[in-house]
Amino acid sequence: MGLGSWDYWAEIGQGFIDAVLLLVTGDPETWGIIRQSLYISVSATVVSMLFGVPAGFWIAYSRFRGRGLLLAICNTGFGLPPVVVGLVLSILLLRHGPLGYLNLRFTPYAMMVGQFVLSMPIVVNLTVVALQQLDPKLRMQIKALGASRLQTLWLLSREIRLPLLVAYMAGFGAVVSEVGASQMLGGNLPGSTRVLTTAIVMETGMGHYDRAMAYGIVLLLLVAIVVGFLTWLQHGGGRR
């Protein structure tokens, strides 16, 4: 049927206009979902930085059996399928499962755990790569200056602060736009576990293209900000 009928395009166009209206008029439901999406994904990636950066230091600077394997796992983690993470965590969080007593299933916290698992390998990996690119003598120099372990961690983190920012943004970009694990772990409950991606799936299924498009626009904007920022950094935007 080629490009479709006039009615079809009119409806899509109307949907787009409605989407913009929903955003600019501050529609509570729309903005509630945006807020929840940010809350869950920012929390998850902050926690994965708290654990992932020290883990990256540990992997980069210690020599132990299985280090290569751990690095390989982190590399694989870049392509960790969200649905599989959702599936495994769902099983663990089942009422009679090993983590069932936590009563986390279908809560925002379950989604945070899922997004934490998804972003952690990205953070660890990018931290390791950043540390490997530093002059190996730099760590000796810092040690020779009389830095304690914690001071060394702090000083080296300052040296790789831009790559760490990249790691955070990459982790955030990956989890905020992920739908599989969020759907399975959160269940898309309104006001609680409904986030941009799960809402888009639902609204599209129900034929509410205006709302679906509103969420899509916000998601695209978020990802565009992340990608734009990363590109800017890569072109030396943040250098001194």
């Binding site: 002059d135 003598k137 120099q141 200056l145 009389g146 000083l155 001194r240």
Partner: protein
């Protein structure tokens, strides 16, 4: 004679699964500058890093003022009494002043005192006017001066210098060597200086170790070693013609 400040006994190092440093005895007195000289791959830097407590030892002990590292003296406590300067300046992000004061800051010294202590050292090294410049914008010579200042401001008991001038151009290098020689004369610390430049060694060092393949071949005053190399290999390393075949070692390039 003053007491021995740094005493290393039977120190050996294994790197990448092979012994790169055979058991070596080493001592330095307060106010003394000791050179470690040898060809590439002789183990000079390895010896320096080992003495500075920056490499795990395969055997042996290192003692600072009679306190054995790892037994009476924790590594962190040891590192807070020494300082090291490497071939690359290895400055961190931030201004020159921030870098020079860094060791003091790590020791918990307040900002006012840091400033007071850093200023004369910055002036001695002729970089006081660069204090507020970002470390990333310095020339090679300026950066190495900042690196030296960062070490000297700590008033270390032992100062380790690992070919600190090797990456600099000749004029800068000659000027810095002479300035450093003047500075070291006023200090009460021991200095361990790794170099592959015999001129530098003879200007800066009271005593010199000739290192080859992880072993000390000869030890003594630089001029003495040049004049009287004990073996043909030492003569070859220091480029003097007294031992070995005199005919081919006339010293002309």
């Amino acid at each position: 004679m003053t007491d021995v400040l740094l005493q290393a006994s039977e120190v050996s190092v294994r790197r990448n699964k092979r012994i790169t440093l055979l058991p070596i005895d080493f001592s330095a007195r307060a106010g003394e500058t000791i050179g470690i000289y040898g060809p590439n791959g002789a183990g000079k830097s390895t010896l320096l890093l080992a003495l500075a407590g920056l490499l795990p030892l395969e055997s042996g002990t290192i003692a600072l003022a009679g306190q054995v590292l790892g037994r009476d003296l924790a590594p962190l406590a040891y590192h807070r009494r020494i300082a090291a300067v490497f071939q690359q300046p290895l400055l961190l992000r931030g201004t020159v002043a921030h870098n020079v004061e860094l060791g003091l800051a790590l020791r918990g010294i307040n900002r006012k005192e840091r400033r007071e202590r850093a200023l004369p050292v910055l002036e001695q090294l002729g970089i006081a006017h660069l204090a507020d410049r970002s470390a990333g914008t310095l020339s090679g010579g300026e950066a190495q001066r900042a690196s030296l200042a960062r070490a000297l401001v700590l008033k270390p008991e032992v100062l380790y210098l690992d070919e600190p001038f090797a990456a600099l151009d000749q004029p800068t290098r000659r000027r810095l060597v002479h300035e450093l020689a003047g500075l070291l004369k006023t200090q009460q610390n021991a200095t361990v200086f790794v170099t592959h430049d015999l001129m530098e060694a003879s200007i800066l060092c009271d005593r010199c170790l000739i290192l080859d393949a992880g072993a000390v071949l000869q030890e003594g005053a630089p001029d003495e070693i040049i004049r009287h190399p004990r073996t043909a290999r030492v003569a070859e390393i220091v480029g003097s013609g007294h031992i070995g075949n005199d005919a081919t070692k006339s010293g002309a390039p």
